[in-house]
Structure formats: C-alpha cells, structure tokens
C-alpha cells in the first residue's frame, strides 16, 4: 500500500531533501540527518496522507467531497489536496488552534467548522457532518490510506540513507496519533531493516511512549495545555498502535523548552522553520543523546506551521 501510495503521490508531493550541520552533530555527539517535512506542501507531512487518501477514493465518492477534523496540519493538508483534486472539503478545527492554521485552511478553499476542544468531541462532529452531507471522512491517523501516504516519508528516507551509507540508525519521528510513525516503521521494515523508528512526544503527553513500555494502549490526561499543539492526541490509534508496538524502539519525550531550543537550532543551523510539535524529534536527538545508541540518528522534522509570536520566542533561546 505504501508503494502504491508513492505512485499516486509522484509529481504531486515534494521529495524532501536530507539536511545536516556539523554544529548539530556536535551537540548530539553523533551524526544527525534531518528530513525537513516542513518543506512539504502546506508545511507538513500531512499533505502526503491527505493526497494518498483522496487519490485512493472511487471517482463518485471523491466528487461528493471530503471532511476532516484536525488541530491544523491535517486540515491544511486535506484542504489543499482536495483543492488540487478539484473537490470540496469541510474541516472541523478546535477553536483554540493557532489562528494562522485556521486562516490558511480557509484560504486553501475549505469550509472550516470550529469546535470547543475541552467540551466537544471532534469525532462525533466529524462523523455527523459526514453522514449528513455524504462526505468521506478522512481520519488524521487511524486510516490505512493515510498511514500509507505518510509511509512514503519512510520510502524516501530508506533510499536517501542508503545513498549516504547510513545503514543502521534510529529514526526519530514526532508522534501524535501515530500515523507518520507507523507508516515510516512499515516502510523501513521492508526497505531498510537497519533503521528503526522511535516516536518522540512532549513530556506529560507521552501516551505512545507509555503504551510501548506497557504493551497496551495508554491515554493522556489532557489534550491541551502544551505548546506542541500539533501532536496532542488522546491516545495511539487502534490501527497504528499494533504497528508501533511491533516495529518501534522505545519512545522519547522532551520538555516544551527543549522543543523551543530545537526550533532555534533548526533556524540557526539548518535554515528551516519548525513548529514546536514538529521539533520534538530534533529536540530528542539533541537533548536525549544518552537514550540513543546508534552512530547516526535520522530526524523527521514533521511540520513548520509556527505562529510568528511562538517562533520569535524560540529565537530568544539563542541570545
């Protein structure tokens, strides 16, 4: 399915390069290779899964349009992929999502429906609207075609790492519901068995790390109250968790300040823009070096839709 998705994505999705800096290697104490999915269309890897899911629909279903619920990056990915397919989209977003993400989603052609993250269920709202209007719901992670699309990051990584003679490494992946991490893990299983995916999360919202440690699904106490808004999910998915549990190494978790410091290093050394939730993997490479054993580490920097105020605050860590 991942290879089929890669075929449908070809020519529509950007192949992101591999970046590096001797200054980051020095902080991490090992070679650090960064795959900047912030450079993907709409600023995050989410466009891959969205394109995969929409392009896999039958023509009749596709023409009726799609719906998604998302804290922002999945929203923009689905909105733009839908617009590029010439179909309509409805996006259900939390009312406290960064204003930039709400604005972008609207500007990309979607109808945005806001909900209260604390008191309402986005799943219920999404499913109700889907059945009312005959739209296809594109789940953010617990959806095989979405996982397959995100897995194309892993296919690219496997080839790029081999070209750089990196055959053994931990692959650190920013992890919310686990769509990206499970897709990459599956791709690596087939194409680069010496590379091992490891999920990275914010401290206090490390449901995946705890789920892997215990072998069964654990939940977070909250889904708000951390600057890494893009990856705050209640628990790993029913489809993603068994994949993560079978294939991934132990999870890693970092503080909000560490995520911000990683954003500052990405600015300074790689010249890329990361959002906090997209920087937890780089933060893990830089500030959890003692929990990593491989000579090289590959960092999937998953998104760059940072509000300017948050980014300016991260820059303050440099002075």
């Amino acid at each position: 399915m991942i290879e089929a998705a890669a075929g449908r994505l070809r020519g529509h999705v950007r192949e992101t390069p591999i970046l590096s800096s001797p200054f980051l290697d020095e902080i991490a104490g090992r070679r650090v290779l960064v795959k900047p999915e912030c450079l993907q269309h709409t600023g995050s890897f989410k466009f891959r899964g969205a394109w995969s899911a929409i392009s896999a629909l039958g023509n009749e279903d596709r023409q009726r349009g799609v719906i998604a619920y998302s804290s922002g990056n999945h929203a923009q990915g689905v909105a733009y992929a839908a617009a590029q397919h010439g179909i309509s989209s409805v996006i259900v977003m939390p009312s406290d999502a960064p204003q930039l993400k709400i604005n972008n989603t609207r500007a990309l052609g979607a109808e945005v429906v806001l909900y209260d993250r604390a008191n309402e269920s986005r799943e219920e709202i999404g499913e109700a609207l889907a059945s009312e209007r005959g739209l296809t719901l594109i789940r953010p992670y617990d959806e095989p075609q979405v996982i397959a699309g995100q897995g194309t990051v892993g296919l690219e990584l496997a080839r790029q790492a081999a070209e750089m003679d990196v055959n053994e490494a931990d692959v650190l992946v920013c992890c919310g519901g686990g769509g990206l991490t499970s897709g990459i893990a599956l791709a690596l299983e087939g194409h680069a068995p010496g590379l091992r995916a490891r999920p990275c999360e914010p401290k206090g919202f490390d449901d995946v790390k705890r789920s892997l440690a215990t072998g069964c699904i654990q939940s977070n106490n909250a889904t708000a109250g951390n600057i890494c808004d893009a990856i705050l999910t209640p628990q790993p998915g029913q489809i993603t968790f068994p994949i993560l549990n079978r294939l991934c190494g132990p999870g890693l978790s970092v503080t909000e300040d560490e995520a911000m410091r990683a954003m500052a290093q990405a600015f300074l050394r790689l010249k890329i823009v990361l959002e906090p939730g997209g920087a937890v993997s780089l933060a893990s490479a830089l500030y959890r070096a003692d929990e990593i054993e491989s000579d090289a580490v590959i960092v999937v920097a998953s998104g760059g839709n940072a509000d300017p105020e948050v980014f300016a605050k991260a820059l303050g860590f440099l002075t």
Copy 2:
C-alpha cells in the same frame, strides 16, 4: 567549466529542491518557484564556489591552504570547504559583519582576521597575507572556478524547471559582485535558453542594475549602511560584468522593508530562513511584479544566515 565543477561537487554539495506556495503565487500574480540555497551547506550558495575553487587546485597548492575575504557567506563557504578537504584557511572579514557569521567561520576551523570596512581594503590585506604565507587567494566572485561552482545552481535549475514544464521564465538572482548571477546566466545559456537571469539588489546599492542600463561598470557610493550586508559590493566584477551584460535581463531593486517582508513571507509560506540579502530576489518577485513579464518566475533565494534579532524584526511585518 560549470559541468566540470558539477562533477567535482557531486556528493559534496546539496542539490536544493524547488519550493512554492499558492499564497506567494497570489501576491506575485504569477507562478513563483523558489530555489532555496539557504539550505546549502553553511547556509548559502557560496559553498558551491568555494568547493569548486579548492577542488580545482593542484595538490601542492591546496595543501598550503587558502585565504578569502568576505562579509560572511563566502567566508563560511571557504572555511567549511577547506575543512572538508583537510586543509587550513584564513578568512579576512569586516569587523562589522554579523557576529553569527564571524563565530561560525571560526567554529568551522578558519583563522579569522578582522579589518575596518570603512578605512581598509580587504583586497590589499588578502593579497598581502596570501603572498606572505603562500596561500591561494579565493576571490568571492571575480574568479572563474568560483563562477563555475555558483553556475551549478543554474544547471540544477535548468533541469528542475524542465521537469516542471517551465521553459520560459525570468530567473531572479540576488546579486553582489555577480558571481552567482553570471554563473547561472552561463548555465542557462547552454541548458535552458528560455530562462533569463536578472540581478536583484537593494535600492541605493544597485550598481549592477545601473551598469546593465548604461552598458559600462558603475559603482556604488557606499558599501555599508544597508541591512542586505551580504550583497553590498563596490561594483560588478571585471570578469562577471561582461557575462552579465551579454546574458542578463534588466536589474531589479527593492527597499530594505521589502526585503524584510519577503523574509516574513518565506517564513510563513515556505518554512525557510532567509537573510535580507538572500531575500531581495523573492522581494523582487513579490513587490516588483510590474517589472516582470514571464508567466512564471524562478527565485534563487541565496542565503539564510540571518541574525536572530534581524529575523525577529522581519517577523514583525506579519502582525
């Protein structure tokens, strides 16, 4: 020479991707393709020319080491390329260069010699040190092997544009002494005759624009006092100008505020970090649309070594 340089650079220099955003297309009123050389090693295209020049030296000359004078990006490029070749480098830098660039150059292994930009000649200092110590001087732009290295940006561009079916376009290039612009113009002449290079400069420091308009070399009144420090040169080179004059379209110039606004748009829409001098090409595409005729425009965003304070100021243009 450009193709030979590309051969020497292979595996050592990053091929930068092509980025785009529907939001930028909307501002510019046409399709905007951006080649982010800020993602190159050391944060600018200068690494290409440095690698080209050092790798072209005979073994004996190379082992004696190299020297360069630069406001910063050429410095970092030469320092890192020298270190990667296992040889020593001396860099002559203006004492008012951004501290980040001075620090980086030292950290990359070079010996840094500071000079007073207002009262001393970097050319004289550089040539004196070179003859004293037997070092090879690597000029920042008026040097055939450096131009050939920068021209590899044009080779990549020609192929990437053809893959995207863009066969006619203006190629906007940030221009100081003209090494990058002339190298790209030569590569396009051979490989993509429908693409035309056009130099972009800060207003008040538009020596190349005026030189092209009059057909003979014109000078700037000053070489300091503008935020676009990376591209403030006294006049086009003796080698670069005849190439520019033969091959380039008319020059474009933008204000400091426009360069900063382009940095903000690059942050918001492309998730890349540009410095002011590396953003004048994007600023020209966005804010000089009436001086461009082609349906598509290609922007070479040449560098990303922005001081955090300057970048934070640019972000202020978004709010």
